[in-house]
C-alpha cells in the first residue's frame, strides 16, 4: 500500500451534481436579490451624544443603543425610522427605504381573512426562538437564538386554539408570535411560534438550506404543520391547520383554506416574505364533521394573477 497514491473515489453522480448546482444557483440568486433590495447602509462610528435618525439616499438608518431591541425585525414595511430618536452608539440597524407593503393589496378580497397582525420586536422574536430551541431541534440550543439571523417575526392571529386537557377548540382569537430564522452558520432554519401569553415555543418547521429553497417545487412544506380536527365547547366541529411553507419565487400572495367534498372554508391570507410563509386555515361548522377534508393553497403573482392551486 502506497499512501502517497490517493485512494480511488467514486465521483459524485451527475444527477446529484445537477441537483446541488441548481439549489446553489437558486440560493445565490435569492441572496443576491436580497442584497439588491435591501443593501445595508452602515453608519460609521459617531461620537455624537444625541440621538439622530439619519436619512441617506439609499434608505433610512436608525441609530440604536446596543441593548435596544425594541425595533421591529425583518419587516420592510415597518416605520421604525419615525420612532423617537435614541441614544446613538456604534451599532446601527438598517431599515429598508420602501414603506410599501409587501404586496400591492391594501385589503384582502371578500371572503378572506388576514392572519398577519404586524411585526414583532427583535426582543420578542429572540425570546420565542430561545423557547423553541430548548427542544433541541436540529441541535440548536437556546444560546443560538441570540445569534440567529431573523428573516421575519410577526404577530399572527390564531382563529382557534386547541385547549389540551380540556379537549376542545377555543374560538376566541389569540395572538401568536411566529418567527422565521436561520442559524448563524446558515445551516439550519427554523420557524417557531410562541403563544402570546408566553407559553413555550413550538417548532413548526426546521430543515437545512435544501429544504428552505424547496419552494421552487411549489410544494408546501408540511412537516412542521399541525392539522387538527375537533369540536368547540358548544359542540361545533373545527378543522384547523397551521404551518410553514415555501412558495415559488414569483408568488407574492398565498391563500389557504380547507376543502371537503361538499364544500370549503373561507380563504385565509398567509404571511409571505422571501418566499417563506406561515399560514393557518380554519373551518368551523355544525352538523356532521366533513370527511376527506384537505388543505388547499392558491398562489398569486404580484399582478394578482392566479399562478397555481396546490393541495397540501
Amino acid at each position: 500500500m502506497n499512501v502517497t497514491e490517493p485512494p480511488e473515489v467514486e465521483e459524485l453522480p451527475a444527477h446529484r451534481v445537477e441537483e446541488l448546482s441548481t439549489g446553489l444557483f437558486t440560493l445565490a440568486e435569492r441572496t443576491r436579490a436580497q442584497r439588491t433590495r435591501a443593501r445595508p447602509v452602515w453608519v460609521p462610528i459617531v461620537a455624537a451624544t444625541v440621538g439622530v435618525a439619519a436619512v441617506v439616499s439609499a434608505g433610512t438608518v436608525v441609530l440604536r443603543s446596543a441593548g435596544d431591541s425594541s425595533a421591529p425585525v425583518g419587516d420592510p414595511t415597518s416605520d421604525a425610522a419615525q420612532q423617537t430618536p435614541r441614544i446613538p452608539s456604534v451599532t446601527a440597524q438598517y431599515v429598508p427605504p420602501s414603506k410599501k407593503p409587501m404586496t400591492r393589496w391594501t385589503a384582502p378580497p371578500s371572503g378572506t381573512t388576514t392572519l398577519d397582525q404586524g411585526p414583532a420586536t427583535e426582543a420578542d422574536a429572540r425570546r420565542a426562538l430561545r423557547r423553541c430551541f430548548t427542544s433541541g431541534l436540529n441541535g440548536l440550543k437556546p444560546a443560538d437564538a441570540d445569534t440567529a439571523i431573523i428573516d421575519w417575526a410577526r404577530w399572527m392571529v390564531n382563529p382557534v386554539t386547541y385547549s389540551p386537557g380540556e379537549d376542545f377548540y377555543d374560538t376566541t382569537p389569540r395572538r401568536q408570535l411566529v418567527v422565521s430564522a436561520l442559524s448563524a452558520d446558515r445551516r439550519v432554519w427554523a420557524t417557531c411560534a410562541e403563544d402570546g401569553t408566553g407559553e413555550p415555543g413550538e417548532d413548526l418547521t426546521t430543515g437545512d438550506l435544501k429544504s428552505r429553497s424547496a419552494g421552487n417545487a411549489r410544494t408546501p412544506i408540511s412537516s412542521g404543520s399541525a392539522d387538527g380536527a375537533g369540536t368547540t365547547k358548544d359542540g361545533r366541529w373545527v378543522l384547523s391547520w397551521q404551518g410553514t411553507f415555501t412558495a415559488m419565487p414569483q408568488a407574492a400572495r398565498v391563500e389557504i383554506r380547507y376543502t371537503w367534498p361538499q364544500g370549503a372554508g373561507q380563504w385565509h391570507v398567509a404571511y409571505l416574505h422571501n418566499h417563506i410563509g406561515y399560514g393557518e386555515a380554519v373551518a368551523i361548522g355544525s352538523g356532521p364533521k366533513p370527511a376527506n377534508h384537505r388543505v388547499e393553497f392558491r398562489l398569486f403573482d404580484s399582478a394578482g394573477r392566479l399562478l397555481d392551486t396546490v393541495n397540501g
Partner: protein
Amino acid sequence: MAIEVDTDEVLWERLRRQEPEALRELFGRYVQVVHAFAARRSGSYALADEVVQATFVSAWFRFVRGDPGPLEQATARSWLLGIASNEIRNLSRARRRLTRLLSRQPVPVPMGDHADAVVARVDSERQIAEVRAALRRLPRHERETVELVYWAELTVAEAAAMLGVAEGTVKARLFRARQRLRPTFQSEPAEYEEQS
C-alpha cells in the same frame, strides 16, 4: 472551435461582484475535487455529499458578507479545500445533529435499482478506510500535508498557504512522512517532484 473559459482569477472577480452564474461555474469546475477530497478525508460518501453542499454555500456567503479581496493563489482550489476542511471538521462534530436532520428530510424520489452503486461505494469506503488507517501513523500536521499534496494535488505553495506555513515546512513534512511510512510501502515511492 475552442471554447473560452474564464480563468479562476476572472471567475473570482465575478464572484466579488456576486454573480450567481460565476458560483455555478466555480461549482462545476471544482465539485468533484471537493467531493473527492471530502470522501478521502472523511471516508464517508454521505458526509462528502454534505461537505460539498456546505462548502459552496459557505464560499458564496464569504462573497455576500464582505469582499474577500483578490484571489491569492493561481487557482481557487486551495481556498475551496480550506473551506471544505473546516466543513468536514464541523460536520463530523455534528454527526448526531446531521442524523437527526436527515431523518426529517422528505423521502427521496426512487432512482431505480442502484444496489450495484451502493456496493461499489461501500467497497470504496472500505479501501479508503484501509489507507487512512495507515496514514494514522503520522502526526496530524504531516497527515494533512500528505492529503493536500499527494491526494488533493495541491502545489507545495498552495498547501503552504492553506496550512499557513512556509513552503520549506511543507517539503520537510512530506519528507518526514515518507520516512515514517517507509515500512508501509510495498515499493519505494518516487521522490516528490514539485508541481508547477
